[in-house]
Amino acid sequence: MQDAENVAVPEAAEERAEPGQQQPAAEPPPDEGCCGPRGPALRRRQGQRPLVRRWRSRRPGRSRRARPRESGLGTSAPTAGAQAASEDAGGNEGSAAEAEPRALENGDADEPSFSDPEDFVDDVSEEELLGDVLKDRPQEADGIDSVIVVDNVPQVGPDRLEKLKNVIHKIFSKFGKITNDFYPEEDGKTKGYIFLEYASPAHAVDAVKNADGYKLDKQHTFRVNLFTDFDKYMTISDEWDIPEKQPFKDLGNLRYWLEEAECRDQYSVIFESGDRTSIFWNDVKDPVSIEERARWTETYVRWSPKGTYLATFHQRGIALWGGEKFKQIQRFSHQGVQLIDFSPCERYLVTFSPLMDTQDDPQAIIIWDILTGHKKRGFHCESSAHWPIFKWSHDGKFFARMTLDTLSIYETPSMGLLDKKSLKISGIKDFSWSPGGNIIAFWVPEDKDIPARVTLMQLPTRQEIRVRNLFNVVDCKLHWQKNGDYLCVKVDRTPKGTQGVVTNFEIFRMREKQVPVDVVEMKETIIAFAWEPNGSKFAVLHGEAPRISVSFYHVKNNGKIELIMWIVTREMFDKQQANTIFWSPQGQFVVLAGLRSMNGALAFVDTSDCTVMNIAEHYMASDVEWDPTGRYVVTSVSWWSHKVDNAYWLWTFQGRLLQKNNKDRFCQLLWRPRPPTLLSQEQIKQIKKDLKKYSKIFEQKDRLSQSKASKELVERRRTMMEDFRKYRKMAQELYMEQKNERLELRGGVDTDELDSNVDDWEEETIEFFVTEEIIPLGNQE
């Protein structure tokens, strides 16, 4: 290695030596004629020099520091100067190196000379050489980081100072060893603030974090700060710098789709096993494509709760799209993001990634501000949690998470804990926000003699508005009605003296005083439960696999809960079953579906007059999606659950099949949500009253578009038929031309028509033995 270096250097150095000495400038002379090879040689040499240098400087017994001092030059010269200096040095170095191989060539056995020449100038800084070692060099500490300032300490005279010191010591030595304290005095009394010094800055930070706000007594609440913070806040200039105005980005009308004249809805479709994503207008005839992109997302997409944004997932993070052309609106960089959740107000985005989390920098869960794109706060992710880990209140003002024995409620926009404290609820199993107010419902299982209880808590006051005790509870599930009018707690119990689990529905009427509770007892196991979104009915699927029934209940104003409909699904479906309930977003109508293993049986039910409007089937359907207006339903077979017949079918709410859309490896269809209506209850009522008036207009429109559609179709067919006729005419002419050849080939027998050679026919009578049997085909009405 040494040889190679040393051999390489000389030839370069030789060439370089002359101009280097004549012209110590950084640039080589431009005359290329006489020194052609110089360019590349120079470059090579420069590239090699640090290597040579490093090797030299490690030589033992050489005082590197001594050199510059001898020559009287500083170690760190400015760039240009350094270059010039090194040119000089290089020249000399080269000549020195030049000598070495010669010595070797001569077969001289003497130790080669590794000495630097006399006037060698070392221009390598120490940081460059061993920066990694220097970094760990101990720093001189003045201890100022370990000092805290405590305010609101009682002002005492010398007589009680000792006692105060004792108390203070007791409180603050919890966080670490106090090495020094100082109680400033004035007129024989302490000033009300003190300084404490800890053994290490970490203790001081700990003390600030935990003792700030400590209540010593009624009058004295400690305010604890780091001493260094005072420095920091002192230097803040009195003048307020106006932050630079961010240029306004015109994103267009993000809600343009609501202004569509036909009031159509949009939906997103992922197909080709996720390679392509499309957005369509839903239309009775055929979906109208708005946008189609390849590899728009890497996994799946999500719409924001009010439909403003479309979120796509990427290895590097989340992107939000919107506006008429689906331009990118915002990006959130979160490596390996897997799950997201929007706040209901669309102001914040919560993202989760299993990568990236470190002890001191929580990054597993990040809350982002959607408008600015800034990270608001990161959180650690406790294991065994279910997404969404953070649940948002209906207005996005609060969000909460549950950990062992605690419920932590945070507020926006500060992202801090509400009242700086989590709620200690030992044994808390589950919680849920009311969708209609800032009320949280949670339940705690039985603990020895204390019964299980369901609690409703008002926030931010933390007032418990209702507590219900329950006995022998195995499990509870909280189901809110969409407006927050009712809460149903499904309670599985094992009453004493009975075998097996009994299920009760505890219905909380939230809008009434004292929140009255009614109980519906169910005798069978529950498969599914669902509230009517804008009403007071709920549907329950219950029973064991071959005999599953559906029951509809109505919660009346007087609190009575009435069973209004009960059907055995098997009878309704002709031997098929249902396992899921899908209410129309507007209520009243419901689709009962037997998804996946239940072969895709569908029942469309009207709960207002308790009729089954239609029974249908989408074989192997895996998903049912109502459009946000409750006019259409989509059933689909996703490639994610089933590999063949991937398609989505569009139905009316009454169960009339409108379209079958087969898409290659179709994965997912999501309707674009709509924001809540701006109409008041009265206005809605008025519209419902005048429905006849409107429906006439709509019917006329429908007829127009229908006749237009059929006209278009007929037109298309007509042109196709025209083309086909032309083609057939041509083929027929050709066929006729060949007639003679055909006749010749078949010995003059005309076989063009089945009966063209009828004269040649021989009549042959064949007798068949037929037995007749009359089988009546069931009872036909």
Partner: protein, 288 residues
């Protein structure tokens, strides 16, 4: 109308064919029996016994004197249609995949599989020259090196044959209609399952497609998902207007009766079904 079920085979049907007048229906299957039926009521007229392996193909000449069959027992046989007597036995080196009479009924053609080291050949015999058959020497033999022929038919006047290859043009998922002289692609009929056979109606602008979930996957799927229906499309509009259920395996071969009033299908399930159309079929018309 209730279909006529022909239960004459023990294995899956490979091909079915009407004679020119349509009174007879020839069926062959992966068993060694060749059956001929009265198409009017499904009574079996007789069988042609002799093959010792699966029979891949069958054809009758225009005046229904002769029947030609090709089999995996490495032979192609010529039969007297009426008596069932074997007139000729043409030995080959590998299985016979397709066979056919030309328009005049004098020249026969058959193709052999690329198999056991032998390559795929198309052989031509002239029946008017008995020495060719006696010596088993075709007057013409076209080797086909690339990929084997899975299907071959004579051109309209016997001046050429059109062959479909294993790696061929015919898309598995969609039946395509080609102009027979220019071989230009005319129409595509889309289905979501493989198509094994297609036939044109002689007097309506209809095409029937037979197919379904591939036979090897059938055991893992129910009949409903397999889509073993015969599907009717309008020839010009490429629009589907009807389906006929019945088979419980994929349909391997479909054929229209020459009068267009019935059609037959032969399936992997071993059954041949003769369907006579209901009056609605003839009344149905696309709005155009």
């Amino acid at each position: 109308m209730k279909p006529i079920l022909l239960q004459g085979h023990e294995r899956s049907i490979t091909q079915i064919k009407y004679n020119r007048e349509g009174d007879l229906l020839f069926t062959v299957a992966k068993d060694p029996i060749v059956n001929v039926w009265y198409s009017v009521n499904g009574e079996r007229l007789g069988t042609y016994m002799g093959h010792t392996g699966a029979v891949w193909c069958v054809d009758a000449d225009w005046d229904t004197k002769h029947v030609l069959t090709g089999s995996a027992d490495n032979s192609c046989r010529l039969w007297d249609c009426e008596t069932g007597k074997q007139l000729a036995l043409l030995k080959t080196n590998s299985a016979v995949r397709t066979c056919g009479f030309d328009f005049g009924g004098n020249i026969i053609m058959f193709s052999t599989d690329k198999q056991m080291g032998y390559q795929c050949f198309v052989s031509f015999f002239d029946l008017r020259d008995p020495s060719q058959i006696d010596n088993n020497e075709p007057y013409m033999k076209i080797p086909c090196n690339d990929s084997k022929i899975t299907s071959a038919v004579w051109g309209p006047l016997g001046e050429c044959i059109i062959a479909g290859h294993e790696s061929g043009e015919l898309n598995q998922y969609s039946a395509k209609l080609f102009d027979s002289t220019t071989l230009e692609h005319q129409k595509t009929f889309r289905t979501e399952r493989p198509v094994n056979s297609a036939a044109l109606s002689p007097n309506y602008d209809h095409v029937v497609l037979g197919g379904g979930q591939e036979a090897m996957d059938v055991t893992t799927t129910s009949t409903r998902i397999g889509k073993f229906e015969a599907r009717f499309f309008h020839l010009a509009f490429e629009e589907e207007f009807g389906r006929v259920k019945g088979h419980f395996g994929p349909i391997n071969s479909v054929a229209f009766h020459p009068d267009g009033k019935s059609y037959s299908s032969g399936g992997e399930d071993g059954y041949v079904r003769i369907h006579y159309f209901d009056p609605q079929y003839f009344e149905f018309e696309f709005e155009a």
